[in-house]
Symmetry: C2
Subunit: 307 residues, 2 copies
Amino acid sequence: MRFPNPLEPGAHIRVVSPASPARPDQTQKGVETLQQAGYGVSFGRFVYESDGYLAGTDEQRAADLAEAFEDPEVDAVFCSRGGYGCARLLNRLDLDRMAAAEKVFCGFSDVTTLHLALNRRGLVTFHTPMLLTLSVDRPGWVVDSLLACLAGRDPLTAAGATGQSVVGGRARGLLTGGCLCLLCDSIGTPDALDARDKIVLIEDVDEPPHRVDAMLTHLIHAGVLDGVQGIVVGEMTRTDESPDHAIGAWPWRRIVEDRLAPLNVPMVMGFPFGHVHAPVSLPLGATVELDADAGSLRLLEAPCVAG
Amino acid sequence: MRFPNPLEPGAHIRVVSPASPARPDQTQKGVETLQQAGYGVSFGRFVYESDGYLAGTDEQRAADLAEAFEDPEVDAVFCSRGGYGCARLLNRLDLDRMAAAEKVFCGFSDVTTLHLALNRRGLVTFHTPMLLTLSVDRPGWVVDSLLACLAGRDPLTAAGATGQSVVGGRARGLLTGGCLCLLCDSIGTPDALDARDKIVLIEDVDEPPHRVDAMLTHLIHAGVLDGVQGIVVGEMTRTDESPDHAIGAWPWRRIVEDRLAPLNVPMVMGFPFGHVHAPVSLPLGATVELDADAGSLRLLEAPCVAG
C-alpha cells in the first residue's frame, strides 16, 4: 500500500461532491473547521450543482474529482457529503491515475465505493467525517481525530474509541470496508470488497432491519468475507427506530450477531465510526490490530508518510 | 428446462411461508380463491409462525418447503407472502431434489431468490400473486391469469397485458428475473441472476429513487445483464410516492431509462406484474417473445407439461 503525504500547515484542501447535492449553508461550518485548522479550502467547479439525488451530471462530478487529483496545487480531496452517486462515476474515472497521485482522500457513506476502488489500486484513503458531518455540532475529539489523520498522526489516540466484544480474540490485517449497502453494491464488480486477511469495517444508516439481514447474508453467500481476520461493526444508525417495520423487526445488534458471529473471527460492535453522532477517522488500507476482548482497534502504521 | 405438471381439478396445493410472517386473517381470502377454483389447500406445519421479520426459524421454514416438495400427495407449492427470509434458507435446502420434483411453485417478491435457485436447476417456476396478494380485491383477470398458469394454459391471453415501449424491437429468450433488490442480492452468489440470452423481468416496491439507480447500476457493473436479449420492467411501486427523498429524487421511469436504455435491447416498462395492484402470472424459465414496439410479451411454450 502507498500512503498519502501528510498535510502540512497551510496545505490546500479541495472540496468535491461526487454523490448527492450539498448546499453552502449545509457545509459552511465544516469549511470553517478546516480553515481554522490552518488549511486552505477551494471548491470543485460543480461542488454545489444539483440534479435530483445527484450533485450535477456524472460528467461534472467526475471532472471535479479528476481535476482535484491532478491539480499539483491540491494536497487533499475532501467530499462534501455522501448520499448516492459515486458508483455512477467508476467507469468515467482514471482510478489508477488518481491512486498514483498519493493524495489524502476523505469521506464515508456513499464514498465507500471510491475508497474500495482506490484502496484496490494501492492508495491508503481516509474514512472520515465530511463537510455535512462537520457542520453539525460534534464532540471536540471528532475534529481532533480527523485532524490527526490528515497530519499523519494516530487518529485513535485522541478519541479513545471502543466497541463491545461479540467474539473475543485478537487479529491483524489491512483495514477495509465502510457502509454496508455500498459494500454489497460492490459485490461481483471489478472493485468488489475483498476481506481476505483483512479487518473489515461495517456500518450503515436508515436501513430496515430485514435489509441489514439481507445485506449481511449477501456478503456471506457471495464469499467476500471468506478469510476475513476480524470485523469492526459500527452502528446501524436509525435502524431500530425506523417506523417501517411492516414485516416485523429484530434489533440490529441481534441481526449482526446472528449473521456474523458464526464466522468465528474476533468481532466488536458499536465502534464509533460512520453515521454515528461522534465518529473517529480511520485510514483504510493501513495495518491495524483489533483486540476484540478489549473492544479496541490499534493503528500499527501512521496514516500518512512524507515522501 | 423441465416444466411442472399442470394442476388437474382437485389438485392439492400446499401453502408455505419461506419469508416473513403471515396471519390467517391476511391469507383467508386467498385460500378461498384457490378452493373455489377446485383445489384442495393444506398448510405447512409452521406456516403461521412468527419471529420478527421471519415466519419462524430457518429450520422451520426450510422444513416446510422440503416437506411440500417431497410429499407425493402435494401437487403445487404456494407461498403465503414475501417480505424477507428466502436467502437465509438457500444453504439449508436440497434445491436439486426440489427442482427434480417438477412441482408447480408459486410466488414473487422475496421468493425471487427461490425462483432463481430452482430455475438454475432446470425447473420452470411461476411468478404469481401470493395468498396476501389474493386476499385484497383485484380485477378478475388477476385470478384468471393465475389459474391459467396453474392449469398449464397461457396466463397472458386472459390479461391482455402490455407495457410502454422504451427501446423498440423484438427479442426471444427464456424468461428470468423478478424483484430488483433480490436480483441484486443474488449477485456473486452461486444462484446469481444470469441474463445472458434471456428476457429479464425487473420490478420492486418501496425503494427510494436513488436505491433504484444504485441497484440497476449494480446489475450493470457486475455484468449480470451482459448478453441480455430483452428487458420487461414492471413498476417501481410506491417509489415516487416515498416521503424519504432527503437527498433528492428523479421519477423512477427516468431512472430506468437512464440506466437501462443504453443497453440498447428491446425494452418495455410498466408491464403489469409483481407488486402492482393487478399483476399477471408468468412462467420463469419458459421461452417468451417480447415485442417492445407493441409493448407485449408472448409465451411460446405452455407453462406446464403433463408427464
